[in-house]
Symmetry: C2
Subunit: 309 residues, 2 copies
């Protein structure tokens, strides 16, 4: 895995919001620039620290190889003097918990700066000539620690979710201690289908939160997630809840949870406009859960509390 530092221009906020980096391939005069050449060297899974206006406030995961691309329209007049022939690098960015001003940590950072193509000068000023800079594992670890982003990873979007499902199903298929029937049943449960889904529908015929009753539009979600379950828990209908797809995403990411008596819990750091935009009342008080589900719900609430701490 490689580590990179990007010195955004004025377009930084736009790039971070849209999950990409863009640079021209060459300098205005046609000269090569290592900071641009690096765009084509970044690999999916690499970590990128975003440096805007003297602050490292975002960290991202490269999600694809760079692609030849003209300057995205969204960059507008920003960088209008750049050549239109460039690289577009997809990076999934997220804000760090603790934004870091490198100038305030020169003692820790300066000894680890690369000798060539360093992203900042020894006084902490950004090297504007270097757009994307390779940095060492040691410097990266220091930055991850300072920004409290030690556990950075791609957000659980469709992508990682789908890849994880595939890996889990492959692991099931390779389990020699399971019968063919058990393998098929667990594979189905992993994707919220088959026996598991039927058992969950028996407990929850409609979406607990929105009341949606059209089964085609509902998901059978595990309360205690797959990775932490025994095989028995993976097939236990009591470990499931039928949810509308958007509620499922919030529940699955631990941004909401539920008390046994049906009260919805919202993680403190979830922006209030998220619930508002999806018309979900923040003070929801739903029907109580069946006692068979309390143990699983306690586990889920603990995860939410841990993330808040």
């Amino acid at each position: 895995m490689g580590y990179w530092w990007v010195n955004h221009s004025q377009a930084g906020a736009h790039e971070v919001a849209r999950d990409y980096l863009w640079s021209p391939k060459r300098e205005q005069g046609g000269a090569r620039n290592q900071g641009y050449d690096n765009m084509a060297l970044a690999q999916p899974g690499d970590i990128v620290f975003s440096h805007i206006d003297g602050v490292v406030g975002y960290v991202g995961v490269v999600t694809d190889l760079a692609s030849e691309s003209s300057k995205p329209a969204g960059l507008g007049k920003v960088g209008s003097y750049w050549s239109d022939d460039g690289w577009l690098l997809p990076v999934s960015f997220q804000p760090v918990r603790r934004p870091v001003v490198p100038k305030q940590h020169l003692d820790a950072l300066v000894p680890e700066l690369p000798k060539k193509y360093s992203p900042i000068q020894p006084n902490g000023h950004g090297n504007q000539k270097t757009y994307l800079a390779a940095i060492s594992d040691v410097l990266a670890r220091k930055l991850l620690h300072l920004t409290d982003a030690d556990s950075v990873s791609a957000q659980p979007t469709d992508a990682t979710a789908a890849a994880q499902v595939q890996a889990d199903i492959e692991a099931i298929q390779k389990s020699t201690d399971l019968s063919e029937t058990e393998r098929q049943r667990l594979s189905n449960a992993r994707i919220g289908q088959g026996l598991f889904r039927s058992l969950v529908l028996i407990l929850h015929p409609v979406c607990k939160v929105t009341g949606m009753a059209d089964k085609r539009l509902l998901r059978a979600s595990h309360i205690k997630p797959w990775r932490d379950c025994t095989n028995t828990e993976r097939l236990d209908g009591a470990n499931g809840i039928m949810l509308s797809p958007h509620i499922d995403v919030l529940f699955d990411q631990g941004l909401i949870s539920f008390e046994n008596d049906g009260r919805m819990l919202v993680r403190e750091d979830l922006a209030p406009e998220v619930l508002a935009q999806w018309s979900i009342p923040a003070d929801l008080n739903l029907a109580p859960f069946h006692s068979s589900q309390w143990g699983y719900l306690a586990w889920h609430r603990q995860q939410l509390a841990r993330a808040q701490a």
Copy 2:
């Protein structure tokens, strides 16, 4: 693929709504009954015709093997005289377009009835002794035609979607005419990630319908679906739209679409309470789409119109 006919008892509506069949393993006195034994013979992918009160009104797809199960609580007092030791068979049911009363089609159906363990008598009355009956391909095809369910298939739930994604990615990996980079890029695009997602985010930084701006909660959806696309169309950001997960499900299933000028279209047969329960105004008028997207949108609208016809 096998075909089955189920004569539901009074519990039929409940079973269909919850996507399962349940029967005891034996008759009250302990005798075997082929209609119960068949529960353990049904295979995932088999088709089941639901016969309730003289009407075939639902058709389902078996989604898992039968499982030993006591009588689900939801069946309540219905069948309270049954043994509690039974089979639970997961079946994904959907209503047929044209419910069929077998008694009105005796000429077509009777010649195809099985000699033994027939689900109905020659006069069209159900054989209540036979819960789940095996039927022939010929009878099944006649029923599919009469009910206008020729194209029956499991609803595109998570399950089929995830399996389809996996199959599509395997097909990409086997394409010898693609470079390793192209293979990786297409795999990412299939799951709404990587270059494709970045390109779509550039066009649509927020969910078109709800305004949701938290990228972690949004999906990059193909407008013209994967199976109908060239590889170029699969990676074309103009063929994408960022949507909240519940809006994505409606759009992906062709239950809603959009005019080029941003007006939302709702398929006539979508129950109005679906939009109401998710607080989506039916008369949405959004910002116009960029002209690069009009061709893809026209394709999507055509699918909606075809499903309505």
